[in-house]
Symmetry: C2
Subunit: 389 residues, 2 copies
């Protein structure tokens, strides 16, 4: 076990109908006026908007709306939210939606309190975010884990950079998880959510230089659960039991627990996927399902034990290569893209993508000397066609 | 998934030598004067006492000592601690030791703040503990999970009752886990610790009426890790790697995570074991290893699926009975008692034990109408001899 610190103070309220508690929850934290952040209107379609508004009114919580968060949340809209929150003098942020809405909500909460421009904190991780408005969330799409962690990812649409912040102060105070609110998530987005959740746990699993069995087992528990529940969700999207298990697995996947004790882990697939997301405005899960099998193939001989273990535990396969191919096939089976070709990205873009990765996230994370454009190109060539491995 | 609330704000500092940080940790929380709670002196033997004192002095933290906590911590000594903490006007509690020391420390922290006598809160779980001094811990024996939860168990040695409290305010603020500090834990106590940890995760696993796969997998991950690491620890007590994995597994086993989503779970083996502990002053793990296989045998047909699953996942056995026998054999193999006979408790005591369980913990937990003396006797008869199953 590598030494670690763990602290996760988010309170989770999990179960049917719990979104109705939001007004009283805010009241119990002394909130009087809240910035109500949401997306493109799907919360109105599923009747959630009305429930939230009713609960806020019943609890006499004033609210200012900040709708229109995009699937890859953008900096300009986030800045508008920060201005609105300051002008309206809200004392908390309520984010209702998927990971994108939560990430923008968290960034607004921090942006109100930091000195200077919030984007500087995305560009320079030596700048510490020390304060934020209290954050409350109601989740409608299980995938990013944002509901129980201190991360947020935002895209600067002017510079085409997709970067992240991390801080103890942007853990939500309370996150409400009602699996019923995910019934309307489409098959396509469920596939992306499954890939994202698997990605969250396997990144450190495969890149570790200290790889404790306890942590490996927690990771495998989540991967198995994600695969099992996703297949059932694709058959019946209204099965509460499997929606619930998937939702909780997705939260556990990035609330910090599964990566404790690993030494040397990095989020390399996320790093590459963030560039695809920024350059082509693709869903995050789609970027990951393109990158992961390719990166695994490229990296497998650097951590043989873990790749063999994965093949055995998840797919009952004997060697690393079979495990990677099985995962790629499973991605394709659930409808996630597994090559650049699947998203009509030409091979001539590989140079551009490699440079972008190196110059944006890799640089921010201090990985640009390890993941040079040359090496990134090696990985990216393996993403060209679905039958390349 | 059953609906649930989860909140665990304890910060964990895990790794070698981290006990030296305690002074600065306390300082960062604004602590000026602390009640330093410890046990029978083993922390002096392993040099930990001096390190703690040095760290406190370096950080200019005043401290008052409260040594002498017993393995089954008793109410009279706890009350002395509460009086001392009040008289000396400390503003925090630092508990350095195993689960017993932590439990007494947590109870003192609450006892200083509650109205009336702290024991009333053990007797009546409708009485809510709303405030406590901040609690900090350094763990020297991994088993009880007390370092990352809101529970404490105390024995009233006058009435021979071993009861518990539960409150959000007695979660430690910070717990320091250095696996090296457990190197001196004897083989006997490692065996008890393994049993206790397994007990913490299988109680809800076997008594659930809603049994999510994700939670089952987390439980099985911990059981496998406990068994694997305990066998290696018994071979080489100075193996940091396995001590570390065991230590973290023990924390995870009762920090709330593994039981989320289960419906209907109860700590029935703990309930029975607490009476054995109170009546015979036996180590908690020894009481559990006597009770668990017997209770499993008695209960197995009430939750067949879970018992079969356990047999298959943990022991690669085909049926529930074989799984139970395998667990019992494993307890015996590591040196834990598996019958009342092993602890020289006569069969004529069974009536007394059954009545005690029903009148103490079962009553406090509202289970006395389910676990009547008659039913408890059925379980206890199966604990008589080691070859009874």
């Amino acid at each position: 076990m590598k030494e670690f610190e763990f602290y996760n103070p988010t309170k989770i309220l999990f179960g049917k109908g719990r979104e109705k508690e939001i007004g009283n929850v805010l009241k119990s934290y002394g909130v009087k006026k809240v910035l109500f952040v949401y997306g493109q209107g799907s919360i109105k379609e599923i009747g959630l908007y009305n429930k939230v508004v009713e609960s806020l009114k019943d609890a006499q919580i004033e609210f200012v709306e900040h709708p229109g968060v995009k699937p890859n949340p953008v900096l300009s809209h986030t800045r508008e939210g920060i201005d609105k929150a300051k002008k309206e003098n809200v004392d908390a942020v309520l984010a209702v939606g998927g990971g994108s809405v939560l990430d923008e909500g968290k960034t607004i909460a921090a942006g109100v309190k930091v000195e200077g421009d919030i984007w500087d904190y995305f560009k320079d991780h030596n700048k510490v975010i020390k304060d934020a408005l209290p954050i409350f969330t109601i989740l409608t799409l299980a995938a990013t884990g944002s509901e129980m962690n201190g991360y947020a990812v935002i895209t600067n649409e002017e510079t085409l950079e997709k970067l992240s912040i991390a801080s103890e102060v942007i853990y939500p105070k309370v996150s409400i998880l009602n699996p019923e609110l995910t019934f309307s998530v489409s098959k396509q987005y469920q596939a992306y959510a499954a890939v994202d959740t698997i990605a969250h746990v396997i990144e450190w699993y495969f890149t570790c230089n200290i790889c404790p069995n306890i942590s490996n087992r927690l990771v495998e528990s989540i991967v198995k659960t994600v695969m099992e529940t996703t297949e059932k969700i694709l058959e019946n999207p209204y099965d509460y039991k499997v929606r619930a298990e998937f939702m909780w697995a997705a939260t556990l996947a990035l609330n910090g627990i599964t990566r404790l004790g690993y030494g040397g882990g990095i989020y390399v697939n996320h790093m590459i996927a963030h560039s695809l997301g920024a350059l082509y405005d693709l869903p995050h899960g789609a970027c990951l399902s393109i990158v992961i099998p390719a990166w695994m193939w490229w990296y497998k001989d650097k951590n043989t034990g873990q790749f063999k273990r994965f093949a055995r535990e998840i797919f009952s396969k004997e060697n690393a290569e079979e495990g990677i191919k099985a995962l790629k096939s499973w991605f394709a089976k659930i409808g996630a893209p597994v090559s650049l070709q699947d998203e009509n990205i030409p091979s001539s873009d590989i140079e551009k993508i490699a440079n972008h990765v190196c110059e944006t996230t890799a640089k921010t994370w201090g990985l640009d000397s390890v993941y040079t454009p040359e090496k990134l190109k090696e990985v990216l060539y393996l993403t060209l066609r679905s039958n390349i491995l």
